[in-house]
């Protein structure tokens, strides 16, 4: 194995190094980070036979371009950003071999928002506080202090040996989500659910919300008809991944990987972990509905997922 680099020719609007996230430091106010679409991220590593936690690039939206320094196998999973290798289309949800001097390009999204680019053996990044996940706000992860990838940055990886064979793989269409469909999210009711009046809970389940333009790695703000929220006084408490906050204007905010660690708005519960990737790939204007989920069932689904990918 020799050292090689992937050079960032164009980073696009937001390209970030992510691994599964930074844990064990929430007590300091440090957020978890990690891939917003854990499903796609995990398949990208899986298709290469990588360990579950190896750093990948999370490419958001469009116009990103990378130059391959030496032959190796790569995988792309998640949003369909019309990826090409030297202008030849690459199948999404697949692994492929790229040679020295070739260019991997991403353009406007056909399906979803975020695509994961993984390399066989992972990118060699020095972890900070146990993780490579880039969180700019916490000055942690990535190449330097959480900053997104910049033009000219070089990511190191080990190249394939000259005679090393790699068999490209393609994920079955049955496991490829269509991110453009309306999103139905299962909810684990918890937190302040018992303090909310029934009419509000009914409204929440009966409303078709829309993804607003106010979306980022911290959270997704949805847009729906206005409703009066009861005043609930509470102390700030830890915010779990997928928490659904109902602020005074009643417009739900679903908190994602880069969320603040504690907060004082009432929460009706959490979006099921298995359904979160669908939300994180949704675009402004896309429809979102909530249904009540069964904790036992969701937990066993999640455990299967976690065991399969080897978390």
């Amino acid at each position: 194995m020799n050292n090689a680099v992937l050079q960032i020719i164009k980073p696009g609007p937001l390209s970030l190094i992510q691994d599964l996230g930074r844990f064990g430091v929430a007590q300091f106010g440090i957020t978890q980070g990690g891939p917003l679409d854990e499903y796609a991220y995990s398949w990208a590593n899986f298709l290469l036979g990588n360990q579950a936690n190896l750093p990948c690039i999370e490419i958001t939206l469009r116009q990103a371009e990378f130059k391959v320094g030496a032959k190796n196998a790569f995988a792309i999973c998640g949003a369909d950003l019309r990826a090409t290798l030297d202008d030849e289309p690459i199948n999404n949800w697949s692994s492929f071999v790229a040679n020295k001097g070739q260019t991997i390009k991403f353009s406007l999204p056909k399906n979803g928002l975020r695509c994961y680019l993984a390399v066989f053996g992972g990118f060699k990044i020095e972890p900070q506080l146990g993780s490579c996940a880039s969180v700019e706000r916490d000055s942690l992860g990535g190449l330097t202090d959480g900053t997104p990838l910049q033009e000219g940055d070089c990511l190191q990886y080990h190249s394939l040996l000259a005679n090393q064979y790699f068999e490209p793989k393609q994920l079955s269409f049955r496991f490829q989500p269509d991110y453009n469909l309306p999103v139905t999210l299962r909810v684990v009711e918890s937190y302040q659910r018992a303090l909310l009046p029934n009419h509000l809970v009914n409204w929440f389940y009966q409303t078709e919300f829309e993804v607003s333009t106010n979306i980022n790695r911290m959270g997704y703000r949805l847009h729906g008809p206005s409703i009066e929220m009861p005043t609930i006084t509470m102390e700030s408490e830890g915010i779990a991944l997928g928490s659904i906050q109902l602020p005074p204007d009643g417009q739900p905010i679903i908190l994602l990987n880069d969320r603040q660690t504690i907060g004082g708005y009432p929460k009706i519960g959490c979006v099921s972990r298995v359904d979160l990737p669908r939300l994180a790939q949704a675009k402004p204007g896309q429809k979102v509905c909530f249904v009540k989920g069964q904790l036992d069932e969701l937990q066993s689904d999640w455990a299967m997922w976690a065991n399969y990918f080897g978390y």
């Binding site: 007590q27 300091f28 408490e237 504690i262 969701l298």
Partner: protein, 236 residues
């Protein structure tokens, strides 16, 4: 231990421990701080993250390694075994943090002057008490400290500032805090602390934890600058 706790699931992978007791209890922050350490130490194989706060602890765990019921009883055992008396007796001197109180670094001093509280009074009332850290969050190292004297309690600004300089000392309701880094913020700013409070390459990364005691020491302009303080004037 006298604390009543209830543990309930909040998602597939997280549960919330709530501490409820009828009377205000000064030792609750120390118990929550100690419980956080104990849980990390004893249940490390099952737990990903622990987020302590004012009267609760959020635990992110791995449901494919341990069931909710088993984990709940392990957590209960762990918290019951905390000796409340040893916590209070082991309390050391409060951490002293220097603060430069001045309009140049504390634009909301004006609000207190409008209420008839002079800068000298503000300094005296704010720097007199020993505060307790009851939660850390919002941003890394941002510590919610209690209790601010009733005369100084003000609600958050109706429109948060887009930028509050690093080190800003702030008040919201009965909490006071220091912004460890520049960030947006809606608290009332009365001064600046020139000490680094979030350094990822240092051990510890932040100089306090839940239950820590803090005291503010007023300093003059020269001392502020000599400790590395700057007047950025970048409130916006």
């Amino acid at each position: 231990m006298e604390q009543q706790i209830t543990i309930s699931p909040v998602s597939e992978c997280a549960l919330l421990i709530r501490f409820s007791n009828s009377e205000p209890n000064c030792s609750l922050p120390s118990i929550i701080g100690a419980a956080t350490e104990q849980l990390y130490n004893q249940l490390n194989h099952y737990i990903m993250n622990i987020t302590p706060s004012v009267d609760s602890i959020l635990v992110d765990y791995l449901p494919h390694r341990i069931g909710f019921k088993t984990l709940t009883s392990r957590i209960e055992q762990c918290i019951i075994s905390i000796d409340e008396n040893s916590l209070t007796s082991s309390q050391t001197h409060p951490l002293e943090l220097p603060v430069y109180y001045h309009l140049d670094v504390g634009p909301d001093i004006k609000q207190y002057e409008n209420k008839g509280i002079t800068l000298a009074q503000l300094i005296e009332i704010h720097s007199q008490p020993i505060y307790t850290v009851v939660a850390i969050g919002f941003a890394p190292g941002f510590a919610f400290m209690k209790d601010v004297d009733t005369q100084l309690q003000l609600p958050r600004l109706s429109t948060p500032r887009l930028n509050v300089p690093k080190g800003s000392v702030a008040i919201a309701e009965n909490y006071t805090a220091i912004y460890p880094n520049a960030s947006p913020g809606g608290w009332n700013i009365i001064g600046n602390c020139p000490i680094e409070l979030y350094q990822t390459d240092k051990e510890p990364m932040i100089p306090f934890k839940i239950g820590s005691k803090i005291k503010f020491t007023p300093i003059d302009r020269d001392t502020f600058f000599s400790l590395g303080g700057t007047i950025e004037g970048e409130f916006s």
